[in-house]
Symmetry: C2
Subunit: 259 residues, 2 copies
């Protein structure tokens, strides 16, 4: 919840009987790792994932190395708060580059570089395929199929996060979710609004858009997923401007109807 500090979010979620939270690193830094651990324990709150690692693409090897170091620190934090996974937003085209193949190579390299550390601290890496409209500036991994191809190459310790907002349109979604099997590490919910006025910050509340969420949920559960179903609504103009408690109440009400 953008409006809340991590402390306020943990307390607020707990007050609404929500048992899990996805934590963003900036909020974690504001709170402090030690206080965060104490709060999570006090409220018996599971951490579905730490957001986010990734951003492996850069114009120089030096910068790519810095990104790898940063990802290792993120893995350490994820381990410290016992996060179920580290969510990867892999990175877009670096600088003025038009070479998406090279960007994807950098992503694969970056993931391979941090994987031994991920395994050693016991935190699975969740590659999140992002909507193709974000390929230029956020992530060049844009289909579940592509993310799973990477998982196949990288091996143990790597899985995927399925966000309905990013993948709902994909004609191969059902087959790829089935292929994913126990590699699904997170399942994220929101809705696709018509019209959509911003490529990143205009997500809808479940029920306000066109995504058949129960259908995708069925596929994800049929694949064996038993983790949290996580609401994630980037909404600068609407939900992020509202009273967080009203947002949570709305999420719960909509979850019962539309998830």
């Amino acid at each position: 919840m953008e409006q809340w500090s991590l402390r306020a979010a943990i307390e607020g979620y707990a007050a609404h009987q929500i048992k899990g939270i996805s934590i963003w690193r900036d909020k974690l830094a504001d709170c402090g790792l030690k206080d965060a651990i104490t709060l999570l324990k006090e409220y018996d709150m599971s951490v579905t994932g730490l957001c986010r690692g990734g951003m492996f693409t850069a114009t120089t090897q030096q910068r790519r190395d810095l990104a790898i170091d940063e990802n290792k620190r993120a893995l350490d934090e994820a381990a410290a708060i016992n996060a179920n996974c580290l969510i990867m937003v892999c990175g877009g085209l670096p600088g003025e580059s038009k070479n998406i193949k090279e960007a994807r190579r950098q992503i694969e390299d970056g993931l391979a570089s941090i994987l031994p550390h991920a395994r050693s601290v016991g935190v699975p890496i969740a590659i999140e395929p992002l909507h193709p409209m974000t390929a230029a500036d956020r992530a060049c991994i844009n289909t579940l199929e592509h993310a799973l191809d990477l998982c196949d190459i990288l091996g143990e310790g790597v899985g995927v996060a399925v966000d309905v907002y990013h993948v709902w349109w994909d004609p191969k979604l059902e087959s790829q979710i089935s292929r994913a099997g126990d590699r699904i590490l997170g399942f994220h919910l929101s809705d696709w609004l018509v019209p959509t006025n911003d490529l990143v910050w205009d997500r809808g509340m479940m029920g306000d858009g066109v995504i058949d969420i129960p259908q995708i949920r069925n596929w994800v559960e049929a694949s064996g997923y038993r983790g949290f179903n996580e609401v994630e609504i980037f909404s600068k103009q609407n939900w992020w401007k509202q009273d967080p408690n009203v947002v949570i109440e709305t999420c719960i009400e909509r979850y019962d109807k539309f998830v």
Copy 2:
């Protein structure tokens, strides 16, 4: 060119030694079919495609039948102006539907229904996969792979239009262009801007964005395509507000550098 009538466009393109034009049906209607035919002949202008057929998805069978009738009329027009193909924007989710599988079934049905007419008037149907961000409201065919799967099912008389704007992000683009072979009926050019401020009307001039157009062109030509390379820049806030002759001159200059 949005700013021009069909007559002005044919005359304007000819003045810049452009030999081909893609014609939109509303502009054709404004001009009148008979005058359009005369003009095209007078200026020896090839018609790369008629835009557009499709929009097969609807909430009732009656409306879907009307769409099929409309597509047959579009095919007749395409035949009359000797268009190389009828471009298909297949249609999004109808009404309040969240059933993208059903929408795709309706699209397949619609294409199958008009195919005998297309064959009899000798106009190939070009399925244009549209960017996934348009799946809800414009077209549920969103990858070249999916479009080619449809071509495989439908058989002779159906091909694809490859628009770099819609497909540049696709990790399977190279392999699917190769698979397409002689079924590529059109090749459309523009560029993906960073940031992109509108999901439809904010396309960039070649060179102003991140698409590696020469790479995609190489793949398309390696597949055997020898048709026109067609500039198509939907740009309500920029290029559509400028002097059309300046736009054309810019297109020609950028084409030489970035295509």
